[in-house]
């Protein structure tokens, strides 16, 4: 199964969803996303992943991702396949998926070894002027997972803040799951322009307002920078990673328990700061 997740890049990463994937011992996943910070590293370390199609896998605060390194350098806990992308190329692959195009022709990555080593790409020449171009084929994930500020029960969800490739990923995917604070429909639906994905595509809406820690969610809570550094230090060894997962993932039954475990640290991130009332002309 292929899952696009963390598609807003540094913020709004649905860690709650990834942790549940680990608890449920999902296997052989294909992860898709430009930069999903340590979410990809955790799923790789937990052995859930067979393939990564991404522009970047690591730890935005600390640099390298230890689990990603162990997987590629030592095949631990298992070998994974990597299809390298840049942010723009994966964005275009998802755009192609979203509009039902077979591929997008681009000028990015010409001369980069990424163009050479990603087996899905094709170097070509433009039928219009013969110039060189790179054809990036569509990616159509089985599932896109989005964390949003609010959603209604039908799946109309509003994502404030940078979107990254969330919109394209949601349209490209066969189905979408939204993690958000569930609010009455009229709040989202009365301005349907705000919904990031048609509710027709949403197969589940999860009421999980704290889903993104340690990443941020605009207007809801700040990023917990130190948590990323702690993860980096704790996961230098496979044993350290196992301990970290036992403490923060398999050792807690759900997100609510995770947030309780964070305790005052969660509150210190301005957590539970909800939307400010919006001033509209009247």
């Amino acid at each position: 199964m292929s899952i696009a997740i963390g598609c807003a890049l540094e913020p709004a990463i649905p860690f709650a969803f990834a942790h549940e994937l680990i608890r449920q011992r999902k296997r052989d996943l294909t992860l898709i996303g430009p930069i999903s910070d340590i979410l990809f590293d955790q799923l790789i370390g937990a052995g859930c992943v067979a393939r990564v199609e991404a522009a970047w896998v690591g730890n935005v605060s600390a640099g390298l991702g230890h689990c990603y390194r162990r997987a590629l350098e030592q095949g631990e806990p298992r070998r994974i396949e990597v299809r390298d992308h840049s942010n723009f190329s994966i964005g275009q692959a998802l755009l192609a998926g979203a509009i039902g195009a077979q591929y997008i022709a681009t000028k990015t990555l010409l001369g980069s070894d990424i163009a050479r080593t990603n087996p899905t790409f094709k170097e070509s020449t433009s039928p219009f002027d013969g110039s060189k171009e790179l054809l990036v084929p569509a990616i159509t994930p089985d599932l896109a997972v989005l964390a949003c500020q609010v959603a209604d029960r039908d799946g109309s969800a509003e994502l404030q803040g940078p979107w990254g490739v969330s919109y394209e990923a949601a349209l490209a995917a066969k189905s979408a799951i939204v993690l958000a604070e569930i609010v009455p429909a009229e709040i989202v639906v009365r301005t349907p322009n705000r919904a990031i994905v048609p509710a027709t595509k949403v197969v589940a809406v999860v009421h999980e307002p704290g889903a993104c820690h340690p990443s941020s969610l605009s207007r809801m809570y700040q990023r917990d920078h130190e948590f990323f550094h702690e993860y980096h230090r704790a996961t230098r060894t496979a044993l350290g990673f196992d301990r970290w997962i036992a403490e923060w993932v398999t050792g807690v039954p759900d997100r609510a328990a995770y947030l309780r475990k964070l305790g005052p640290r969660w509150d210190a991130l301005d957590a539970r700061v909800k939307f400010a009332p919006t001033t509209e002309p009247n």
Binding site: A8, L9, E10, P11, A12, P34, I35, A54, A55, W56, V57, G58, V60, S61, G63, L64, G65, Y68, R69, A71, L72, E73, E81, V82, D84, H85, S86, N87, F88, S89, G91, Q92, L95, T106, K107, T108, L109, L110, G111, S112, D113, I114, T117, S131, K132, E133, Q160, G161, P162, W163, G164, V165, S166, E168, S215, S216, R219, Q222, R223, H225
Partner: protein, 255 residues
């Protein structure tokens, strides 16, 4: 030099690379501070792009750790899909972009993907391109900032993540890149310019020297005929840098 850090010197040099009115892919850490400095000095109307989908005409008021931090979202000029800002890049509307890397070679090619001969079985798995390869492919000018280390400034990188001048000469045109390429490489020891796709030492920082740079560079050093010591930042420039990064969180790392 004792009271000016290498980070501060690099920021001051990098800021000069931004011209007024330009649209710039900013990035984080030292490049972001360079953008703030340029805006507050000679380039007040420069526009900053952040690849996750943010456009700012004024930098965020506080120090950022990632480009997605809430202060970078608040009062953004625009906020939305990444493809809008990447589209500006491919349309040729972005004059300059900042980038770093684990390795760079004499032709300005950067590796942020993997150390070792086999990308799929590497000695060190680096995180990857992010938007770096896009900026290197499509921006009119590339401004590279890196720590100076013989293992990082290599004759040939193991993997070209972000294309510089390839093998030099008209390589970029031959592979299909319309414009761009590194205009400057700013390290902890000096400043390189590129001539015919080849890095040439233009200045060495106070406390360093041409020989010092040579000893720490993995390729046969080319030195400009008018090589000189890098100019120290003015008091005003230092005041602005230290005002934005008062703890030296980014500008005094490792000191």
């Amino acid at each position: 030099m004792t009271d000016v850090s290498a980070g501060e010197l690099m920021v001051a040099q990098a800021a000069r690379e931004i011209r007024d009115g330009e649209t710039v892919f900013v990035g984080m850490r030292l490049p972001l501070i360079a953008f703030v400095l340029a805006k507050k000095t000679h380039a007040p109307s420069a526009i900053g792009l952040f690849e996750l989908g943010i456009i700012r005409d004024e930098p965020a008021g506080e120090l950022l750790y990632t480009m997605g931090d809430n202060p970078n979202v608040e009062n953004a000029l625009w906020c939305g899909p990444m493809l809008a800002v990447m589209g500006m890049l491919q349309r040729g509307e972005v004059q300059a972009g900042f980038i770093g890397g684990a390795e760079i070679d004499r032709h300005g090619n950067l590796n942020t993907t993997a150390i070792g001969a086999d990308r799929m079985h590497p000695t060190v798995a680096l995180p990857g391109s992010g938007g770096g390869a896009d900026i290197a492919s499509l921006a009119h000018r590339l401004i590279v900032i890196m720590p100076h280390d013989k293992r990082r400034l290599r004759e040939k990188v193991d993997f070209i993540t972000s294309p510089g001048y390839g093998t030099g000469g008209d390589w970029r045109r031959r592979v299909g890149l319309v414009h761009g390429g590194p205009s400057v490489l700013i390290t902890t020891l000096g400043v390189f310019r590129f001539e015919d796709g080849d890095a040439v030492l233009a200045s060495y920082h106070p406390g360093s020297s041409v020989d010092d740079v040579r000893a720490n560079t993995g390729w046969q050093l080319r030195v400009a005929s008018d090589v000189r010591e890098t100019e120290l930042p003015s008091a005003e420039v230092l005041r602005i840098i230290r005002g934005y990064d008062p703890q030296g969180f980014w500008t005094r790392r490792g000191e």
